[in-house]
């Protein structure tokens, strides 16, 4: 029997000076990733320095919000079943997220998904993904 995956209450993420721009953009419905000016790599989650080359010349870039599901799991052993997933963004990095607004049995690896922002409990909204 398939389960409809809706939205559950999400706890507020801790905002730090290093990541504040990410959360301010999220409040405006924009997904940011970091890109390194020296080696050109995008990374996620965002850091002050590039995890590939160590450069501190990293810039915030707006991501398209489009991606594909790398892997996922329907957590059935929970009061409100939910789907944890890794989504690979068009820009390259793969990020942890939740898949929402869909039937659990219809979710597939490789499926195209698009970012939505969901309110958190007392903090900035969080990027989640739904079928494109």
């Amino acid at each position: 029997m398939s389960i409809t995956i809706g939205r559950r209450e999400m706890p507020a993420p801790a905002v730090t000076p290093e990541t504040r721009p990410f959360w301010e953009a999220a409040a405006e419905g924009r997904l940011l990733v970091k890109r390194c000016d020296d080696c050109g790599e995008h990374h996620y989650y965002p850091r002050a320095a590039c995890p590939f080359c160590g450069s501190e010349r990293t810039q915030w870039r707006q991501a398209s919000g489009q991606g594909t599901i790398y892997s996922f799991s329907v957590m059935r052993r929970a009061e409100v079943p939910y789907v944890v997933a890794y989504v690979t963004l068009e820009e390259g990095p793969t990020m942890m997220t939740n898949i929402v607004d869909t039937e659990a049995d219809g979710i597939r690896i490789g499926q195209r998904v698009v970012v939505h922002f969901q309110p958190s409990d007392g903090g900035p909204p969080l990027p989640v993904f739904a079928p494109a």
């Binding site: 706890p11 290093e18 799991s73 329907v74 059935r76 390259g92």
Partner: protein, 388 residues
């Protein structure tokens, strides 16, 4: 510097307790320490090096040294989750080779069962870690993180739930002979795939038990090992690796074993096909499958076929594994299974495993630990041991 032959495992002890309502964590550490030292024929006064990880209470090594009344000249608190104790054996061998200690004691203990911990299904909060704000709100748990690795393996290689189930079936065949095992029922593939789904595609019987208890090891320099009365179990190969998400280049199918295996086999001068017994960390069935591939027991993607049809069952399979029942059936003390992996390998090499699961003339064994979360953030340790 090669560690081959630089140290021997002289003492090994697994706590028989599985639920420790009436014991403290420190008390359990001290009980397993005494057990392993007695097994070796040594006492706490002989110990000059001590190794423990994040399960040690309070200030860790400082608290335990004070509680157990030790006098030390070497200490190591390397924390790589459940694999810590496999890594500790290698570090103990290195410390002995460097002349920093002669008798190294390694202890593990925990009581998640008595404390009512929702080990696998509660979201994991590592506290003020930089990744937490970007992960914890999505409710990653131990089980659904490992489940994503299994889901991806099924997608890329066509691995099935029935193939994963064979890993649990093999463990259950061994556990029936272990009077201390938490679960001793022999199960079938149908039992495993018919058990409740926890996090797709992992069923309840794909998951290890939650248990209290612990274990300890005593690692000594060769001259001391030869003076003791126990069979000689020599450390000949070691490897350790830390695996992470690499800034978003996530690869859930390559574990640290892809590095620790080649390192340990090269140091030991042996091949996977030479190994007669393998203890493989089995937090979940998928942990075993990925580890066997990465250690080189089969090609990447062929783990499902390799574990099928009883290939891991002692007496009939080509690679007997976890003959104590492993974490899937026997125990997973403190949610950290690396210690018991080494202990059962030592039993096999000493010919002290249960007669029903003992490998005849077992000379070469491997133990592998995986601590943390498979594919994303885990510490791996491989140990190859030889009966001299």
């Amino acid at each position: 510097m090669s560690l081959k032959g630089k140290a021997y495992i002289a003492g090994a002890y697994e706590h028989p307790i599985r639920r420790a309502d009436d014991k403290s964590v420190a008390q359990l550490h001290a009980e397993v320490a005494r057990g392993a030292l007695a097994d070796a024929g040594l006492t706490m006064r002989d110990v000059d090096g001590y190794f423990c990880a994040g399960d040690a209470p309070g200030l860790g090594a400082l608290s335990m040294v004070d509680y157990m009344g030790m006098t030390l000249r070497h200490v190591d608190t390397t924390e790589t989750g459940g694999s810590s104790y496999v890594v500790h054996v290698a570090h103990a061998a290195a410390a002995i080779a460097a002349g920093r200690c002669n008798v190294a004691l390694i202890t593990l203990a925990g009581r998640p069962k008595a404390e009512g911990m929702a080990t696998g299904t509660a979201p994991r909060n590592y506290g003020p870690s930089p990744d937490v704000p970007f992960e914890l709100p999505y409710a990653p748990t131990t089980v659904n993180m490992y489940a994503m690795a299994a889901m991806r393996h099924m997608h890329e290689y066509g691995t099935t739930s029935e193939q994963l189930a064979w890993i649990r079936v093999a463990a259950s065949h061994h556990a029936q002979h272990n009077p201390h095992a938490m679960v001793r029922d022999v199960v079938t593939v149908q039992d495993v795939v018919g058990s409740p789904m926890i996090a797709d595609p992992l069923h309840r019987l794909d998951c290890c038990v939650i248990s209290d208890g612990g274990g300890a090891l005593v690692v000594v320099r060769p001259e001391i090992a030869r003076q003791l009365k126990r069979p000689l179990v020599k450390v000949i190969g070691t490897g350790e690796f830390m695996r992470a998400q690499i800034g978003g280049k996530v690869d859930l199918l390559t574990t640290g074993a892809a590095w620790t295996g080649p390192a340990a086999f090269a140091e030991a001068g042996v091949k996977p096909a030479d190994i007669q017994y393998a203890s493989i960390y089995d937090s979940f069935t998928i942990t075993v499958l990925l580890t066997l591939e990465d250690l080189g027991f089969c090609k990447k993607g062929e783990g499902g076929r390799f574990v099928s049809d009883g290939n891991l069952i002692s007496g009939s399979g080509k690679l007997p594994f976890n003959t104590d029942g492993g974490g899937l059936c026997n125990n997973h003390p403190g949610n950290r299974g690396g210690m018991t992996k080494v202990i059962e390998a030592v039993r096999q090499l000493r010919a002290e495993a249960h007669p029903k699961v003992q490998i005849p003339n077992c000379r070469l064994a491997l133990a592998h630990g995986t601590g943390g979360s498979l594919g994303t953030r885990h510490g791996s340790g491989t140990l190859i041991m030889e009966r001299e």
